[in-house]
Symmetry: D2
Subunit: 468 residues, 4 copies
């Protein structure tokens, strides 16, 4: 028990879990080349040796033991900020483990319906924390025909559902899409994907089970190929975690792992709570990414002697604006946290949602600005392998020179980073997740409709219009 080492983490994944990738069933992912890169990324999060890193990644739990920061229940502003720092220094596998905050946020609402469910949440949380586990957020159903509700589909399994209840637990069948890092986690925390109607009670189901539970299979997909040059794709090398298409083929969930089994009123609540913590993480990443974009634009300009060019300054100002709005929305959300009866705090809901929507609705435009100012080398720059070839490399050094003090390798690093982040497979993944993480632009607008204080605006409008 306690913090794991990278080696212990790797070993812990040899647990019989069933995964597929590129048409192959992989029985031991720890030795399979397809998982090599992703495993290295996820394992690196368990490197607690370095003192600075340890401080960012470890906190002392209320029982005095050391635990991974992602498990820290925030009760003061500093906890939220350290959570942000943790996000910037850890992989997405560690980040999604924040799913427990969503469960804990709704603990009281759950307890009101069934105290056993609430107790399960706490027990599962402590188990995961004390064993330094990783947990996937398992939400989105396949949904089939969007015109029909869950129980009206050609196949009732197109939304995950309870097919049996017995004395040991519930038996569930269905699948979930877009599950980040599923194969690299220990636990699958399953929540319903949306609000449900009374006749859909069998679809109101939430639980957490180990990834190697019988009946669970994961089909993996990644933007990244198995191998990459780190020099050519520096961001891919740090972010290439696969998504999982997770199947539940009549899986038995023991009663002590169940958080919801038919109570439709709670289902939307759990999902919404998860959304807040997910979007807070997303906004943290977004603000950081926007700063990287701004710095990359500045470096391109400096390396080409264009840092005083009016049009370039104008483009950089647009990137600065984007980065500033995101950063301030995030800072404000943390500084203006709300406190629950339990003492747990959470960031300002409106600020988080508005920040996330700003990101989603402007991201493609910002990519356009960055690509417009960076030029064609973003996509036509040869590989570092060519740079290492004696003849080709000599030509590249001669012709990619711009001015004294600018190393050709550094120019290449900048263009490669821009390509990797905006114009290659990882860049494409970022474009889509900028929009889809948390549910598309329409979902973002609905969150605003909910979180905004319309009464205040109505009153201001009535006063302006002279309506009493």
């Amino acid at each position: 028990m306690g913090l794991k080492t990278p080696e212990q983490y790797v070993e812990s994944l040899r647990d019989g879990r069933v995964t597929y990738w590129d048409g192959e069933r992989i029985d031991d992912l720890t030795t399979h080349p397809r998982f090599r890169q992703a495993l290295a990324i996820a394992a690196a999060d368990y490197d607690y040796a370095d003192a600075g890193r340890r401080d960012a990644r470890v906190y002392r739990a209320e029982d005095g033991s050391e635990a991974n920061r992602i498990y820290q229940i925030p009760t003061e502003e500093d906890h939220l900020r350290r959570r942000m720092d943790f996000f910037e220094s850890s992989s997405i596998v560690a980040q999604v483990t924040g799913v427990y905050m969503a469960l804990l946020s709704e603990r009281d609402a759950v307890a009101a319906i069934n105290p056993q469910y609430a107790a399960n949440i706490e027990a599962v949380y402590r188990h995961a924390r004390d064993n330094d586990l990783r947990a996937a957020e398992v939400i989105t159903d396949p949904k089939g025909d969007r015109k029909r509700r869950a129980h009206e589909q050609d196949d009732p399994d197109l939304y995950l559902r309870i097919v049996e209840r017995n004395d040991r637990g519930i038996v569930v069948r269905g699948a979930k899409l877009h599950i980040t890092g599923a194969s690299l986690c220990h636990e699958l925390v399953v929540l319903p994907g949306k609000g449900l109607k009374p006749e859909e009670a069998d679809y109101a189901v939430a639980f957490s089970i180990p990834v190697n539970t019988p009946g669970v299979s994961i089909i993996n997909k990644s933007f990244a190929n198995a191998e990459h040059e780190t020099f050519d794709a520096p961001m891919t090398a740090r972010n290439a975690i696969p998504e999982g298409f997770v199947i539940f083929d009549d899986v038995l969930v023991p009663w002590d792992r169940v958080f919801l089994a038919g109570e439709i009123d709670l289902s939307a609540k759990l999902t919404r709570s998860l959304g807040l913590w997910e979007r807070t993480g997303g906004l943290t990443e977004a603000a950081h990414r926007a700063e990287i974009f701004t710095g990359l634009a500045q470096l391109v300009a400096e390396q080409q002697g264009k840092e005083r060019d009016i049009a370039i300054l104008s483009s950089i100002a647009e990137l600065m604006q984007f980065a500033t709005v995101l950063r301030i929305m995030l800072e404000y959300a943390c500084a203006n946290y709300r406190t629950m009866p339990s003492g747990m705090i959470y960031p300002d809901v409106l600020a988080v949602n508005a920040g996330k929507f700003h990101y989603a609705s402007n991201y493609h435009r910002i990519v356009q600005i960055l690509q417009d100012m960076a030029g064609g080398l973003v996509i036509t720059l040869p590989s570092v392998k060519d740079l290492q070839h004696p003849e080709a490399g000599a030509y590249m050094r001669k012709y990619l020179h711009t001015k004294q003090g600018i190393a050709v390798e550094d120019r290449m690093r900048v263009f490669n980073t821009i390509r990797d982040m905006t114009a290659d497979s990882y860049g494409g993944w970022l474009l889509v997740t900028a929009l889809q993480a948390g549910g598309g632009l329409n979902a973002g607008r609905i969150m605003l409709n909910r979180a905004y204080d319309i009464e205040h605006a109505r009153a201001a409008a009535k006063k302006a219009a002279g309506i009493s």
Copy 2:
């Protein structure tokens, strides 16, 4: 000395000032119908009688006397927030009087060059505060041919300049454009419009003089006609303050009123300082205006039974987003104030500029969204006078009915407010000032280039790219 009454304010403007409007020289503006509406607006700011209003508008100065809130030198966050409240409850004539904050912010820089100038600033400030005066911000030169600098113009007076220095003071000649409320203020606080080169020393001039100083003339211009129905144009009725084209025809400025006379290094500094306080005020107004827009959209929807319509909710969400970003930028700027050696504080420069730029670059798009959802009645609704006509009014009541509980007058008020704010002469004034207050989109981008911490972004980019 001390706070004025509305009557004293009106009386104080009978001081021989020279103003023109619509082709007429107006010798006593307090009795002239063209000024009636503007005068009433500016005088209403002097209404300190009501207790609630008094609290917003009055503070106790360090010498114990009561003074108008605009004169309060902020030394803690609450002062900034009260300043924001003051802006929302006062006319633009009171708002521009905040020009003294810009002077006081640069007091130490001014003192380093000439202690007398600094003493002049303090004396002028105290004089204005103790007499409850209003002061105009007098900045923009006519500029003539933009390709040429000040001293290269066909007419050297196209930028305001010193034409003589004598033992009594300096004599200035030139003009200034876009001076809000010039005719309704007591003081003209004149600052240079931009950075200057050594050969332009005569153009580096700052001072404050009474509006009735010999040689000063003001030609007025307003978006508003002399008379308006308050019902049909509720916002015009509260905001119809003219701009002045202010001419300085060999005006003697006594030495004790001079803040700058040839010191080119200071000129850009003063202007930039003013910019911050001006933009803070602008952002305050912008955030409030965006909330009114959001509320108006909500009211239109409710009055027509469209408040659950998906497309309408989507439009309202965009307005909410706009309002939220502006409000949070402003809140953040106040909460993250900076302190000067003097103890005076000022809001976060980056947040203010990013907030203002967000407003300027999105305002027209937001107007589009509001007008798109509000429909054609915004421009085709008949006047309240028609509503008051027995026959025409009866038709209007019958056919503008939507549903129980919605008064036709209230529908009209909502459409009138939208028209007044977005599709009429005041709306046009708002469109242009959204862009031009503080200098156009390019000026906004330059401010971002200056205020943004590019080193932080460079470092993030270098780390991402693997550049050591």
Copy 3:
């Protein structure tokens, strides 16, 4: 019979029509000051004396008589182009008279249901043409509560409806909104505002009646005040035509004036046909307006010596782009006309709708660009009356000078035109009508959904995706 003179036109409006404006019932609009400006504009369209103008405004009808160009049934491309020229040289009162094209387009569909209706259309058209009449497009119902359909409203009259059918004709009750030039036309051509369901048959009603028919009242509304300086508001002076709120208070429509009385299938068809001709006219105006904007931007730049400034050229390029897309969409629509069995042609539906949607969705952005580059004088420039004042005028001449060869009057004309078109009451009217003429952005998207050849795109996508 035949073409009218301006005087005959004015005289023809003394026909007992009932109009209201600003709370007053006006029994003879030809002598009332409120109508002076609008009447002058509408009467000027009847000036056929000048040879060049005559060519644009007059064509020879099939019976050899001369008639106003708006009545020409296009049968070849040149007719469409001349129609465009006519639009650019005539007021909106003449333009809306194009409503007859919509009726004639659907003549055959109408004949299939009731030959008498079709005969009525032809007779009314010939009567109007032969008497050089003007006809208003009377479409939009008040609509009440938007959640409910016509027959479900609190008041069944909230959509215009047939309340009685007798041997002389039908009796209609209701009102119509946004009727451009209603008071200045001779005929009201009334069409249903949208598609109807079987239970709404009484709302399926179309007809044409003289404005002075008993029971008709018009309440006027204009963006323009009664009086304007042409120098200060040059576009208002040419476009200040009021909209009418038209009431039908149990109006008898004789059978020979009825085009539709209960046939719900035809109702949407007539409305859609009108939409095409309305949008063609709108696109003609839009393309012309965009060219004026581009030229105004160029003049501002030249007058201030900024015509080589990179940022200014960039702004002008955006205006050029807007103008070019609109112009080419219009040209393409005419060159690729379609022919009906009758030989009548009409412009390409997709091109017209896409052109109009391009205008509507980009107009506010384009106004932003123009205002951003034009600067603050757009709103703060004093009036021409001040220029005419000896002292104030001398100051204005001195300080509005930019360089040799640029007359101050011409600078003022340019700023005044920009203000008038984008930042004053006419500018506001243009902002709203850019969106709302033809029904808002959502209506524009629905038209695209309808007009676009989705099968072609589906096939291209299937081929790309390898779907057989």
Copy 4:
């Protein structure tokens, strides 16, 4: 002589050319796996066997021989349209061979300076046409420090230049970037990258030489890896042509291959002429791509039962609008061609540039709309190999089902095509080339400034403003 077969084409590339890729010198690209995919694509253009394809790809030259359509000098509108069809049915290697049109367009201007150059152009064109060659467009110099001109760089070779002139020809040194298909062409048609000053005469150089000329080396770069599943990446499989970084290491260009050697006035002209033909091709591809996007959106909607969803229809309408504007700009450009004295025609310059700018400035926004409506499966869909696996494939078939009649393979094809075109390495290449082909948004604006008839707009503005 005459048309080649695919086999002859492949054989023709075994000519001793020097190419590098991924750090390896490849002496025979026809047998090297890295070139396998690209070679197959380029060779497929030589498949003239099928009758339908033959018609699109072959024309009869003036001497009666058959030649590839790309060599057809257009003299009537139909030639332009067939050129468009050719673009849609051929790879980019065939498309760039259109570079000869740019040379022929400027033949007379070249002849005026040096008749020998003009004769060289004709001879080179005929040689290429008669041997069915492919030619690369070789334009962009590395440019080094952008603040300095060509002759001021640290290394004078940072722009391609003449280092020697002798009786056999000129010797050139330098490099060119972004050369599409360089390794797969026979000829390198080299043109200067921008306008030059008198002191830069050695940089004014244009010529055509075989790819295997001694001293020429090409370093390749592609968005595509060596191997792809066609099912998973259908567009990559048809478009994976590498760009070349082409080095000229003291290459002798014989005099009969020289088109320009020091004549700076011509240099910008040649480049601009190339730009027109390049952008015409780009617009052709753009219009086609926009139609594919529209169709893909429609298919996504249909397959998920969302084809009547209002928000989805609204998104599809935006795609339709984009596709329509591009298609109409292209159609108009062809229908409104201009004729040169030689009888050669070219498409309307303004329409082509405005069409291309519309594409470049809206492409990222359109990708956003498509990705927003398509959802997360775009990036998380497992590979076809998983579908082929017995267990994984069964799960995929069960859970990717939506409704009767929709094959899971077809859903996958649609998502794969969207991912491939917008969210993967080819998608990134499209994002960047949408902007950069032809030189970035600023270059696009400059082209508009040049091509637009500003006099017409100035006149319209002056008339509107009342300026005589």
